[in-house]
Symmetry: C2
DNA sequence: CTGTTAGCGCGTTCAA
DNA sequence: TTGAACGCGCTAACAG
């Protein structure tokens, strides 16, 4: 060794654990500096069985919902001294399951958002005791999870549209098989029934393009709807554009409500009424919980995120430009999240 | 061992290397299945000194530019059997440098986008021979890099605005210290000089909010500009909203050009004229190059991405709704990228 | 307080 | 073809 010390002393100095004399400590740091030595975190992980890394399994990275979520997780991860490893674009359960398996020995915990992964896949996916937090829409009694109150949000959306005088309210749903989508649709159906109104559902795919398609079809109908509740903001924005291209006015002819409150929702004209989920904040919570679980804290709670109705101009005749003030609003309270950088 | 074989045989079966009898091979696979055995990738990495992981160092995850970029990288990574580990929110060189250091032994290569990191920091950051590809705006003679032709793009923007009859063209710049921002501003200044026009620059921060602020200031001027070239789309959109709130019409009163062609650019009304960078595609290329470098292929090339002027309604009186067709367009050619999922 | 030693879980020599 | 031993770089337990 450059500093005439053993590897153990070096380890002690670098990890900060164990007793070291100030003199040797200085010698070690000096040598580290001279040799440009950087510890090999892979080897450290093998020795400590701690990787300080959390894996995130996503269906896809497209759309602002997921990028916001990852941003929230990443900021929290940095604060906790953790790294984030992302894995997306899993089109089926097998792929997602393989992705989970390949994470073994690489992560201390997992956050799973892939709706393809049922409880069975999760159990078979990882042999050891890798903590898993699921956020794929299905409430899980046994496992740590975060779910959005999709049903309640959808009911609030319909009730709002009814309150502003709409009656022919159509729902553009998310894809079948997606639990979030199905819960939102169920809430719509129930609330419409409660209001004594007939239901109409067009299936979308949570994408802007599918919302656009649905909007064009609705605009071409003999009896057009006077309101649309879309399963998410992405589709709502697509539908809004379709309506505008077809010469329909929003909200005068068709009121529009989305779901999620992605950043884009407050930027489109008219501003989009939606059910706000504090996305980045939810990501932060998820990461902090899984980190605690990695510290062998038991956690089988199912946290429910309740979306909040944010009324903007798309469903409100009295607020033509509502939402502009949102530009300077910071949703997440963490100081480091303030402002919006490139 | 469950299958009465040595660890070596198991290794041979699982890695596919080395000679194995069909009989033992079957026994091993059977035991693997029964035991729910999953190889420990961390240990494997230590042994092979291959992590199959690429690290991405970002200044921040905010905004569509970076999420698109990561998406392109992630898709390519999966295709190559690689994982992606992201690390963002490094506000200064020290933090970013620390982030790089903590990646040692964790990744096979690095893609660095932090503009804070000069060549010096990069060199001192990683001791060993971890391949690094830089994309932080500065052309690097020695190192593998991908740079955008910011100067050329800015010149094209100004020439376009001049061609459609604008004269009082103001630039909203990105933050000082950001190399991309500075090159775009330089291109603006040069092109304006070539056209014999006076320059005005307002400094922004690449954020929507800063573009909004700049827009409000410009709208309040005694002599308002008849065109604005913003350093990126984010700021252009912010300025567009500010103009609309101030009662200015785009493009009739003020034409607007952005930079990047983020997905939002074709969605705002009017559609935003911009300099298109195929963001996801650029991310894909970056990942593939760094993976090749990890396979000890030497690469010190500096690839230049030339942005393409996309004219939409924000600078064109004859195309009030230009950009709607973009909804169904797929920028990246990879099949798995088609459509736009939640 | 410090140095020596034994694993962490794998891939990879070598000898059998 | 297979199995036993070694080493990847580090930390944790022990002994000095």
């Amino acid at each position: 060794m450059r500093a005439d010390v053993s590897v153990a002393s070096v380890s002690r100095v670098l990890t900060g654990a164990g007793p070291v004399t100030e003199a040797t400590r200085r010698r070690v740091l000096e040598a580290v500096d001279a040799l440009q030595y950087v510890p090999h975190s892979g080897a450290r992980s093998l020795s400590t069985s701690k990787t300080n890394t959390i894996g995130v399994i996503l269906p896809d990275l497209y759309g602002e919902y997921f990028s916001e979520l990852i941003r929230g997780m990443d900021v929290a991860a940095r604060a906790q001294g953790y790294h984030l490893i992302v894995s997306s674009s899993h089109d089926d359960a097998d792929e997602a399951s393989a992705a989970i398996r390949s994470m073994r020995g690489r992560v201390d915990g997992l956050i799973v958002l892939s709706p393809h992964l049922g409880a069975a896949n999760l159990a078979s996916g990882l042999a050891g005791r890798t903590p898993i937090l699921v956020m794929n829409g299905g409430a899980d009694e046994e496992r740590a999870s975060i779910v959005v109150d999709n049903h309640g949000g959808a009911v609030a959306a319909v009730e709002h549209l009814v309150a502003v005088g709409r009656r022919r309210i159509v729902h553009i749903s998310g894809p079948t098989g997606n639990l979030d989508a199905e819960a939102r649709m169920a809430g719509y159906v129930e609330a419409m029934a409660a209001a004594g109104l007939p239901t109409t559902v067009i299936e979308g795919a949570f994408t802007k393009a599918s919302g656009h398609d649905a909007g064009l079809r609705l605009a071409g109908l003999a009896v057009q709807p006077d309101a649309v509740f879309a399963g998410n903001d992405n589709m709502a924005v697509g539908a809004m554009l379709a309506f505008q291209e077809a010469g329909l006015r929003v909200p005068e002819d068709v009121a529009l409500v989305g779901f999620d409150d992605i950043p884009l929702a407050s930027l489109v004209r008219p501003g989009l009424t939606t059910l706000k989920i504090n996305i980045a904040e939810t990501g932060r919570k998820a990461l902090e919980r899984v980190v605690r679980m990695a510290g062998s804290e038991v956690d089988t709670a199912c946290e429910v995120v309740r979306p909040e109705l944010v009324v903007r101009a798309s469903s409100n005749l009295e607020r033509p430009y509502g939402g502009a003030a949102d530009l300077n609003r910071t949703d997440v309270q963490t100081p480091s999240l303030e402002g919006e950088k490139l």
